[in-house]
Symmetry: C2
Subunit: 344 residues, 2 copies
């Protein structure tokens, strides 16, 4: 039987106090070792380290947070109402990179969906109450005020994708959308295509703008090239519609660059219905190099982004910001790559 009827309030796992006793030093010294302070004698250092190993000591997160006023937690906010984000490998890959990088630190990754204004409010409150030290924001539309609000609530923010309004000093990670689009378009031109269309993404997101700009840049000084632009919204249906429109405007077009794989897939469908062969009659290139690119018929040539690395860079950026809140960090723009398959 137990020695006391009362249930103990302690967890039973070793505390810093026990480590200190084991190492015959004070709790203060033990703490210094745990936190890597330099002001510790080699002798004490070793004694404490041995004790920690022997006892299997692990710091208590809550106790540490309580005194340091830090939470050691970063919040990943997915700000997207549609399920669509998730249909793309983008999210998973990004999280994998994030998680990888964060696991080298003591930071925890908290996840939260926040599409509504009410949920955005909850994010701000979390920050204001010190429950999170920093925030990572993904898939933000237009010029959402959320990043600003979080910053004024007192936590650093990093973004995926260049924000529309260039909000001061909020660092972000992005793929080089313009260069990717340029490469795709130039590739089409190099193949001898001369009536090259593009289907754009929504223009309230930087990715949409940049990809259109890349297309334009590629064709800028080219002569004898017909340019054609149709609006899409990144979704498949819009790609199909846009393609039909393009075909009616220019039945003789011989290439199309779509700003997303979904739209490219839609375009493929419209082209098939119209009796055009791909890539013989019309070459098609998409963007994202998603799983889908390998599943269309013909398989899509597409611009791929290093999503996992983007996740890692995102984490690094936030960690840097956490260490030095006042540092002004430049955006990280990662290169894209054209993956050639059957459609172009």
């Amino acid at each position: 039987m137990t020695e006391n009827g009362r249930r103990p309030r302690t967890s039973g796992r070793p505390t810093l106090e026990q480590v200190a006793v084991e190492a015959s030093v004070s709790r203060g010294t033990a703490s210094r070792v745990v936190n890597g302070s330099l002001e510790v004698s080699p002798w004490a250092l070793k004694a404490v380290q041995d004790a920690i190993r022997k006892l299997g000591y692990v710091p208590n997160h809550a106790a540490r947070s309580l005194v340091t006023q830090r939470s050691d937690t970063v919040l990943l906010v997915v700000s997207e109402s549609e399920d669509r984000v998730f249909d793309e490998p983008f999210f998973g890959s990004l999280v994998r990179g994030l998680s990888q990088e964060l696991s080298t630190t003591s930071l925890q990754l908290n996840l939260m969906m926040a599409s509504t204004a009410r949920q955005h409010g909850r994010v701000e409150q979390l920050v204001r109450n010190g429950h999170v030290d920093g925030v990572i924001l993904i898939s933000l539309h237009g010029d959402d005020p959320l990043p600003q609000n979080i910053v004024s609530a007192g936590a650093p923010v990093v973004l995926t994708g260049r924000p529309m309004s260039d909000i001061g000093a909020v660092p972000y990670v992005d793929a080089d959308n313009e260069a990717g689009a340029r490469a795709a378009t130039e590739y089409l031109h190099r193949q001898g295509r001369r009536r090259i269309a593009t289907i754009t993404g929504t223009q309230d997101m930087a990715a949409g703008l940049d990809r259109l700009n890349g297309y334009r840049a590629a064709l800028k000084s080219k002569r004898g090239v017909t340019r054609l632009v149709a609006q899409g919204d990144f979704g498949q249906a819009s790609g199909e519609t846009a393609m039909r429109e393009l075909l009616s405007r220019a039945p003789d077009l011989d290439a199309v660059f779509a700003a997303s794989d979904l739209m490219a897939a839609g375009a493929l469908r419209a082209l098939r219905v119209a009796g055009r062969r791909v890539p013989d009659d019309v070459a098609v290139i998409g963007f994202d190099d998603s799983e889908m690119a390998r599943n269309t018929d013909p398989q899509l040539t597409s611009v791929s982004q290093p999503t996992q690395q983007m996740g890692r860079e995102l984490a690094k950026l936030l960690i840097a910001k956490l260490r030095e809140p006042d540092a002004s960090l430049p955006p990280v723009i990662l290169p894209t790559e054209l993956v050639c398959r059957e459609s172009a």
Copy 2:
């Protein structure tokens, strides 16, 4: 200028003590109100509530955890080495459901990737150190010992997908894979198909087994039906290979049920190469109703699972287990639905 050169160690946000003073009660009473204790006089209740509102008080998570020995955090562990998990909408949708349900409580959602044994060890340590109160495990293969280990480390676990070895008392949420497969196969039979093949998923996951069993059950008492089984691994390439094999074994087959959309897409490709028309010559049905199903040509008829609801149920299950650790909860099996498109 500030009144004191020393930087204060306090966060500046209101504490329970301040609430108590404002309400002219003791900290104990204030605490009771915050935690919903019934033993509080109406008068005190109101006074404290008013003070809370006035001061904008929010409990300090770290302080509470420290004394209660609970973390108010649940951990979502993604145990999958491939990126493949994420290519499917499954994950995102699940997280959405989880997140939705959890937001009605004070529980935080922590995310962690853990494919390697080393990372699994980290999960156990997190549990053992009281950093998480409960664990949600997704995409577990074979009979991984992780759930058991977590339980013996002292935290409740819930799973997505029936575990292979029926580990005692670990509740799980799953789609009714067998019924879904049965419905798909019966549908094919009802359409007059009589040489019905299936492409299986890996047989080290319950979903793989159950879907095969569903196929068998559907055809059990049917007479004049040719049955054909080919092994796949849920991936697209395996679907293509399996389909080729099936065609060589039975050139006259007229239907195939694939245990995943990816495999169905592979099958579609093989069928096209072989010159078979879908659905005219061969009807095809997939499983998952993923984004891809809408992107193949022809579009895939597929069995859909209520993934978001699965996420919600998962959260509910864990919450129940947290409240009553000894309760033995039955699995939650959710119905599937056959979504008819062009391929069958």
